[in-house]
Symmetry: C2
Subunit: 406 residues, 2 copies
């Protein structure tokens, strides 16, 4: 792709404040014992905003309030996030608390309520202790550029913060896209909640921002899995504040391709970081599918393989168990010519035209002891391609999730 | 239901030879080191036959040959099954071997080839050693009523045989339905293959038998899960030989309801036995959903809960983690009014109208230490009801499946 030259490689030290005129920070308000538990993300310019939310029928209260805010003007200027409490399955009181959080934050920041989004992650079924949330809100410092504190404040039992940025050139100007995410930590009795925040100083039309986020989410965040359980709180929010002084970008802009590439690259990086830090994970697994009938079919096959407990345990045990990969492809629901399937474990081809090769098992097993595992599946049904990311299934996953809540 | 009086309760000592004029046995032909590895099931009368097969794109060779046989006259008289080798991902040679197996068996039994079905379960991607299969075929004794040997011969790493029978009265005559199944054992590098064989001495029209099997499979075998990986070899075969001398039954027969109830009861019993013996399982989990918009929605919700790794690990750890149950219901894809959901763990209600109750956690945890766990989810979206069965996710599951093949 010729565009690659004008998109920088991922800056793994970057984050949500890498683009111009974004500010963020985090504090401890008492929801967790010691760790940071309340964060904020602020744009000094009202930013065009879009978000995608979990499809779970039990969508948590803050997601509803965030949707209300964005619906008004498709803009946001402040996002506040608490960890330790998901405000999910909390009924009317939960919804009132989410609205109250927004109200207090808007007052603290001197912003209209509809420019404020609220987010929560953590325990399900417990009402938000509003006195502590208020303490958090009163600590908001809109001039802070302490992205690291924001990244920490949104974690549950993630073992590390997740952030990156990427740059591209549009109209001769440097445009930056930054992001922070949290993944598959566990807070009892909750499930892994995925949150991601993306900021950019490009100006992007609201429609283009919305469709780009949807498209990118399908290719990245929706293609990761830790255990197949999609939470009540999953959300990705993007803010585009225009501080880089580009014209308003959309799909018809001659340099849209560069922006889309950079945006996708950043999202892929955050998604991979979430997968790598899955509960109990010791390895990142990347599955690449090529030659499927359609991109959607390729996506299904890749997701099916990455979601298979049998594939995940085999990789945990460094077992080059090609049969499980082929089987998971086979039950993905995608159509395929089963006699034209090739499978590779990293550089080692293990299946050719649906039949096993006489590969060196010791060499393949040694490959699977690495921390980054690539599985490639090549079909001959068309030109559809997709990727998916996940992690191995370990004893530690069972230990984490079978432990009685304390 | 008034029909219940004319259907007997499950006879857990019964099996495939409980109905009249069925014979079966098993032998050791050398595919496994010591255990029985070759079984047969024979009806002295050509039996009307139907079967359902895995939807996996990599359907194994014997499934194709069994389909060919049944297609000819919708009848079968002999089913031969080998374990230790799945004859899957074996290409043209595998298909030839499956056809050869059928040919040899038909010669041995003096039957036309199309009355013979062949079945395999075990290792994927290895050609059948036909000399051993021939040894098995030469051991077939059509007069044997040693159902126990058949049940053993079809196992892989199942920890126990699975069989039952049930009786009902049709036209004043006793009709018996018997069955044998194998489940979620593991033979490297294979995945859990589910096989079930159902026999009955009722006479049933071919169309009615086919649609009854399909309907029952959707409610029973398709509602169990161990790890969500559906194999290349999954098959359920039913043989109805008419030896009980009923008239030909179909949906319009006044006593069809009794037959259907008995058939479903037997299938549910076999399905539960498979779930209970899932890899590493220490508990059988039954999920019952009531009040869904449709039966299909109820089925989706029940299957989603039973498939959730987070629910499975929580139950393994005796954690009354209602949030994970509600969450899995929420992402099932079924429509639901989330504020009208009740959840029960056995006798203990833990969620009312989508909100957690202040239940006794110690009591609920104690309930979850039992070997049979019932989860009930009540909705207010309609009258759709369904069940699903599964097992807990344990360290042992990871150990079994992460162990390098030896």
């Amino acid at each position: 792709m010729t565009l690659v030259n004008i998109v920088s490689s991922i800056n793994i030290k970057g984050g949500v404040t890498s683009p111009k005129s974004f500010f963020s920070g985090g504090t401890h308000c008492g929801l967790r014992r010691k760790k940071l538990d309340f964060g904020w993300l602020y744009s000094s310019i009202p930013a065009k905003a879009a978000a995608v939310y979990t499809q779970n029928a039990f969508q948590a209260a803050p997601l509803k309030v965030t949707q209300e805010s964005i619906a008004k003007e498709q803009k946001l200027q402040l996002v506040v996030v608490n960890s330790a409490n998901a405000n999910a399955c909390t009924g009317k009181e939960g919804l009132e608390n989410a609205r109250l959080t927004r109200k207090y934050a808007s007052e603290e920041a001197g912003l209209p309520e509809h420019l404020v989004a609220v987010q929560s992650t953590g325990l399900i079924g417990v009402q938000l202790p509003m006195d502590k949330v208020e303490t958090g809100i009163r600590s908001i410092n809109l001039e802070s550029q302490d992205a690291a504190s924001f990244e920490q404040a949104i974690l549950t039992t993630d073992t590390c913060t997740k952030h990156a940025s990427v740059e591209c050139e549009i109209e001769g100007k440097q445009v930056t896209i930054g992001g922070a995410a949290k993944g598959s930590g566990m807070i009892d009795p909750n499930m892994a909640t995925m949150l991601a925040y993306i900021t950019t100083d490009a100006d992007v039309s609201q429609d283009a921002l919305k469709s780009l986020l949807k498209k990118t989410t399908d290719k990245t965040y929706n293609q990761i899995t830790v255990d197949g359980d999609s939470s009540t709180n999953d959300t990705v929010v993007v803010l585009a504040n225009g501080a880089a002084e580009t014209s308003e970008l959309d799909e018809f802009h001659p340099e849209w391709g560069a922006f889309e590439e950079a945006f996708t690259k950043l999202s892929e990086e955050l998604a991979k970081k979430i997968a790598r830090d899955g509960e109990g994970a010791t390895k990142l697994i990347e599955v690449q599918v090529e030659g499927a009938a359609t991109a959607a079919d390729a996506g299904k096959i890749a997701k099916s393989i990455i979601s298979s407990n049998l594939v995940k345990t085999a990789i945990h045990g460094a077992d080059p168990n090609w049969g499980r990969i082929v089987c998971a492809a086979g039950y993905s629901g995608a159509s395929m010519e089963s006699e034209a399937v090739d499978v590779y474990l990293g550089p080692i081809q293990v299946v050719s035209e649906g039949l096993p090769l006489d590969f060196d098992e010791a060499e393949a097993s040694a490959y699977l002891t690495q921390s980054d595992i690539y599985i490639k599946v090549k079909l001959e049904d068309g030109t559809g391609a997709a990727q998916a990311w996940g992690c191995d299934l370990s004893y530690e996953y069972v230990r984490i999730n079978a432990s009685y809540r304390t």
